[in-house]
Symmetry: C2
Subunit: 214 residues, 2 copies
DNA sequence: CACAGGATCAGCCAAATGGGGGATACCCAT
DNA sequence: ATGGGTATCCCCCATTTGGCTGATCCTGTG
């Protein structure tokens, strides 16, 4: 119990990274084993340094947090993950949890909560941010009879992004060298998955939920 | 020169706030005078504690950073502001600079840069994040012959917001008790001001630039 | 192998959109 | 008071969109 908890911080924002580092390294019993700036670096460092806990941001350049967690988890099952991010959309949450995160915290948690969370995860527990817990419950109960939580496909994302740039179906078709019928099909599927009914709302939802890069 | 620089941190994210605090308070010659969670608190604390520098996040619940800076600046001209944010859109930049910020940094700056920036602002200099500097130059040169930076009107914002919720022109008209012809006119004006040509792109641009609350 | 899911294509049709005109009324500032 | 900006209203019309139904091909997985 009185063993030192070794922590790896993975976040692409230097300020947050170093801030966390400064904050956590002052906590008795905590040791910051390293700081990674992206998913790739997080993976390399995790496997090399074997920290007890990885504090992982989800959205990072190159390999993202979820991908990094999957890779690390494949090669080392003892490392536990705490997702610490500003994104609270469903896609990320379920992906993160499926990828093996032990905790999902939003960046509005207090210092105390974070420290407590690290201790709990270290001792084998799991925990979710209150907001996240509710989303999970909502999803489990409401999502039983329904479907989705399934991401948009690559193609759909591609098309959604072009929609956000003001492209018409015809323009998208030309751009992707497919027929505009196909584009319409994809667009309709996007609407279904996002539960919206026109492109403006689709783009708005995608941007707000972080599905599309802001 | 060897005087202590007193800093007030204003950011709505506890982790960032306390991370910055932990980080900066370890720097010799720096002292964290306080931490504010929103614009209102920042204003109160700034006027009470009279820090040398306020590290200010822009997007905060309630009173935002720009508003807070304006209020503080009105009552105390000696306090200098460093905007430290993740938003790099034009609206924010110019608003922030107009409100009297001495520096505009994005959260991907390194610890060293931030510390250096604080020192420079303390000694009376101003500085901008490299990305921001370019935006400014682009704007000054490109914006000479053109116009805009003038926001949308209240009415237009209202309508834009409804568009983002998937409302059709007819629905907007019903919602605002005006004719759909009028809505069309407003929508067209929005397109002109935002330099876009359909609602999806308008919504995307508005969200990305922070014109619409994300 | 069979089946699910993704990507592709097709036709039909009502509804909405966006651009082109132009118009009135109000308020505020020069 | 003349003008600019805002909000409101109107017509016309081509283009686009979105919903519906249905189909083929490929790939991965049980």
């Amino acid at each position: 119990m009185s063993q030192t908890i070794r922590i790896l911080i993975a976040d692409d924002h230097p300020v947050i990274r170093e801030g966390l580092s400064a904050m956590l390294s002052r906590v008795p019993g905590f040791e910051v084993a390293g700081e990674a700036r992206d998913g790739k670096e997080a993976m390399d460092m995790a496997l090399r340094l074997k920290p007890d806990i990885v504090l992982m941001d989800l959205r990072m350049p190159g390999m993202d947090g979820v991908e990094a967690m999957r890779m690390i988890h494949l090669q080392c099952e003892t490392i536990r993950f705490i997702i610490l991010t500003v994104y609270d959309n469903d896609e990320y949450i379920f992906e993160g949890i499926r990828a093996g995160a032990s905790a999902y915290l939003l960046k509005d948690v207090s210092r105390e909560t974070l420290i407590q969370a690290i201790r709990e995860v270290y001792s084998g527990q799991s925990l979710l941010h209150p907001q996240i817990t509710r989303k999970l419950l909502d999803h489990v109960s409401g999502g039983a009879g329904k479907e989705q939580n399934s991401l948009l496909t690559e193609r759909e994302l591609e098309i959604l992004q072009m929609m956000a740039s003001g492209a018409s179906n015809k323009e998208i078709a030309r751009g992707l060298s497919i027929s505009s019928h196909t584009v319409k099909t994809h667009v309709s599927n996007i609407y279904q998955k996002l539960e919206v009914s026109d492109r403006a709302e689709a783009v708005a939802k995608a941007l707000r939920e972080g599905i599309l890069r802001g």
